[in-house]
Amino acid sequence: MELPFALAIGVLVAGAVYMLLARDLPRMLVGFVLLGTAANLLILLAGRVGGMTPPLVAAGMAAPGADAANPLPQALILTAIVIGFGLAAFALMLIVKARAVLGTVRPDEMAAAEPRAGAVSSPPTPPRALPPPRREAA
């Protein structure tokens, strides 16, 4: 089971990197999420995989059965999934913001921080991409 598992992780990483190399931010975000998923699976596999029994202590027992899964990678992955979700949400908001301010989601067109020679000095006027506020925030 380990060889196909490792191969699948490799495919996942390759897909993630391919998406990260795209020239627009939404695709890069997809690659970013995939890379996180690949890392989680890598942790699981490195902690060894076996049967389907979860690491639970049965009533009257002091420890999980011998065939139970390794609990440590699971705890690490749980943390990683949640953090990864927070990070992805934050990155998504940055992309939305970048689109609003710079009018593009393509890093090569974002010239505000380091204007290229020959480029217009001011960033392009943002298109009215957002719906007008329905109610003013406090």
Partner: protein, 767 residues
């Protein structure tokens, strides 16, 4: 703490104190500091001349095998006296020369620190300590040359001085470290004591050449001589102090210091002798091309330094005596003449030797000082300069087979020095007076005191040669040769070949002086000298380095995000695969289709999801495919005994897909992946490389024996210690509770940031 160590701390402390008093007071403080240090060192004269060598512990680092320590032998004492004595006069002079200038106090503080560093360098008995002080003097020189930092020329000169002497410093460090390794100690006296071991070391010759390179750069020897005239961008007190009397002599000091170690090595003597002679000749030639009096003096300083290096190179004992005497003489007259030129510049507003003349009536005191110093420079009796020149000729006559060349070139060099001395005294102060930008007059006494005193010292030393020989020259010569020698200095040697040479020198010098106005323009027209100098080479090297750096930066920091990402992954993958290849392969786990259980279908689902993501035309489809991957992974977790993880993954993946899809309402969803096919192939290659690296590393990890202790420990302690039956939960909320708390905080912060970003985006506030 011993006195000679305390002297350094007093110097540093006094310099720092100058930063906190008004500039006028600081000049007095500096002069007082230097004078009292001079008196302190002078008090050692008697003891040192009878053979005592005071030593002190200072900054040893036993853990690094750095011995540390200071030592005040005759050579160190001579330098210390010059540094502090001339230093006192320069402080006095600078306070008046730059009175009212906002940069005066900074200049004085730097001068004080420089003086302290010089004292440290000459009294250090430790190679590392010597190197540190050596570099400090280079740094001080950088700031002092760049005093007039608004001028691009001054900044350029400062950088040039720093790069040339600093580059030499690096060579010196390498050389000193090699010698220290061979000798087994960083102590300089230890190195000299271990001379046979040092010379027998396989790296002895490179080490010696590196030390020489460091000394040559510092003392402006050919081919490094070009930085010194440019350093004249500094204010005159700095030029007089650093670039004539003290700092540039540090290279000479180093050669003299290491002479006991290397004397007897033929290459040492040959190299020093010929390089010194070449330097002296170059300086003499270039001095006759200039009319800016400061640059004239700078070139003659190059000549003086070359002469000193040559004398150290000439083997017989007499040359060491000549070197020390000439060092003393040169310090006296050159510092005095620099100060005089500074006075002329200050009072007339010009220092162009061709345009000035007849200043003697307006500034008689200055004229007297200049005349006395110039006579010493020309080597006329009864000045000490005469004594030195006689010794110089004597040393050259005794130099063996090379003496013919030395004498002939030396004769020409000395004659041109006579001519320059004439320009600086007779031409400048006698004859018809010419108009000057400002009305000339004698300066404030603080400025004239220095040159007068130095010029008188030159006269006094010439009239009491025996005293000078015993107190100053003999101990220094003993240090240079590493053995006691008898030194006698005489003003009158009788009628002999040397005297005839002296007379002929003066005669030719007078001829050159009379023809000076025709010689200078003639030599100036010889532009070939400018075209093929090492200065050009320096310019090219500097420009080449900068453009190379620009190109490298442009190559690495190109500003394209995908380039950075591709580099990152490709480099990591290559490093991982390369390491695996070098360290040896591993056994791939056994695999048979029959052993495959149905759970492998979840893996297939992952692969299908990834392919769908990669091939998706629109971002929306890619997000959906990403969701498919997430759900397949969630299923995989469930199938491998991780239901908690599976549920979390499922929930998060659902949320993420919903949020992303929602965001795509305002993001351009229809954007196609418009990479050119070739680009796609290149990106795919990087991606596949990265994937292969991860798989290979994973397989290598799986091939190593598994250590189940942590998992087993958590399992065994979950219920007894934490009263929880779900081990994963117990780890998260109990054993690693603080980690979980941190995770919650991270999420909360991310949530706040998202809300803030969203709110500003919604209200249309673009910035």
């Amino acid at each position: 703490m011993s006195g000679i160590a305390l002297a350094l701390l007093v110097g540093a402390g006094g310099s720092a104190a100058m930063a906190f008093v008004p500039a006028r007071l600081a000049a007095w403080l500096g002069a007082g500091l230097a004078a009292s240090l001079c008196a302190f060192y002078a008090a050692h004269l008697g003891a040192v001349s009878t053979g005592a060598v005071p030593a002190a512990a200072f900054w040893g680092v036993p853990a690094l095998d750095i011995a540390g320590g200071l030592r005040l032998d005759g050579l160190a004492l001579l330098f210390a006296l010059l540094i502090t004595g001339i230093g006192a006069l320069v402080f006095l002079y600078a306070g008046s020369y730059m009175a009212g200038d906002a940069r005066l106090r900074r200049l004085l503080v730097m001068l004080g620190l420089f003086m302290t560093a010089m004292l440290g360098a000459v009294t250090a008995d430790d190679a590392i300590l010597l190197f540190i002080f050596w570099e400090l003097t280079s740094l001080a020189s950088f700031f002092l040359v760049g005093t007039n930092h608004q001028s691009p020329a001054a900044r350029k000169a400062a950088l040039q001085a720093l790069l040339v002497t600093g580059g030499g410093g690096l060579a010196l460090l390498a050389g000193l470290v090699l010698v220290a390794i061979a000798a087994g100690t960083t102590s300089i006296s230890g190195m000299i004591a271990a001379a046979p071991a040092v010379l027998a070391h396989p790296a002895a010759e490179p080490a010696m050449l590196l030390v020489i390179a460091g000394a040559f750069a510092k003392s402006a020897q050919v081919p490094f001589h070009f930085w010194l005239p440019n350093a004249m961008a500094a204010p005159t007190p700095v030029s007089a102090y650093l670039h004539s009397a003290t700092m540039v002599k540090l290279g000479v000091y180093l050669l003299a210091r290491f002479n006991p170690l290397y004397q007897g090595v033929a290459l040492w003597h040959e190299l020093l002798m010929w390089a010194g002679l070449a330097t002296a000749a170059t300086g003499a030639l270039l001095a006759l091309r200039e009319t800016d009096l400061k640059r004239v003096l700078a070139h003659t300083t190059v000549t003086g330094l070359g002469t000193l290096v040559m004398l150290i190179g000439i083997a017989p004992e007499l040359s060491a005596t000549a070197a020390v005497t000439f060092l003393l003489v040169h310090a006296f007259y050159k510092a005095a003449l620099f100060l005089v030129v500074g006075i002329v510049d200050h009072e007339t507003g010009s220092r162009d030797g061709a345009a000035l003349g007849g200043l003697g009536r307006a500034m008689p005191l200055t004229a007297v000082a200049a005349g006395l110093a110039a006579f010493s420079m020309a080597g006329l009796p009864p000045f000490v300069g005469f004594v030195a020149k006689e010794l110089l000729y004597e040393a050259k006559l005794g130099a063996g087979p090379a003496s013919d060349v030395l004498i002939v070139l030396g004769f020409l060099i000395n004659a041109s020095m006579v001519a320059v001395a004439g320009v600086l005294s007779l031409r400048l102060f006698l004859g018809a007076s010419r108009p000057t930008p400002e009305t000339p007059h004698d300066p404030h006494w603080a400025m004239i005191a220095g040159p007068v005193l130095l010029a008188l010292l030159g006269l006094a030393a010439g009239s009491m040669p025996a005293l000078v020989a015993d107190l100053v020259v003999e101990p220094a010569v003993r240090a240079i040769l590493g053995r006691p020698v008898a030194v006698t200095l005489k003003l009158w040697h009788g009628f002999n070949l040397v005297l005839a040479l002296s007379a002929a020198t003066v005669l030719l010098g007078v001829v050159l002086f009379l023809a000076w106005e025709r010689i200078v323009p003639g030599l100036r027209r010889a532009e070939a000298i400018d075209r093929f100098g090492p200065a050009r080479f320096y310019e090219r090297l500097l420009a080449g380095t900068i453009s190379l750096a620009e190109r490298c930066t442009g190559l690495v920091q190109h500003g394209h995000l995908h380039g950075y990402i591709a580099t990152l992954f490709a480099a990591t993958a290559i490093a991982l695969l390369g390491t695996l290849a070098v360290r040896g392969g591993f056994d791939a786990p056994a695999f048979a289709f029959g052993a495959l259980d149905p759970r492998a279908l979840a893996l297939v689902a992952i692969v299908v999801g990834v392919l769908a993501t990669v091939l998706a035309r629109s971002v929306l489809v890619a997000v959906m495919a990403m969701g498919l991957v997430g759900f397949a992974v969630s299923l995989l977790f469930l199938l491998f005994g991780a239901p908690d993880v599976a549920f979390t993954q499922f929930a998060v993946e659902t949320l993420l897909v919903v949020i992303l899809a929602a965001a795509l309402v305002i993001l351009p969803i229809a954007t196609r992946d418009d990479r050119a096919p070739r680009r796609k192939l290149a990106d795919a290659a990087v991606a596949i490389l990265a994937g292969a690296a991860v798989t290979a590393v994973l397989l290598a990890v799986l091939a190593t024996p598994f250590d189940p202790r942590l998992g087993a420990w958590f399992g065994a302690n979950s219920y007894p210690a934490a009263h929880g039956r779900n081990v994963v939960n117990v780890i998260l909320v109990d054993f690693r509770a603080l980690d979980t708390l941190g995770e919650i905080m991270v999420l909360a912060i991310a949530a706040f940031a998202v809300v803030a970003l969203l709110r500003r985006a919604r209200t249309g506030d673009a910035r």
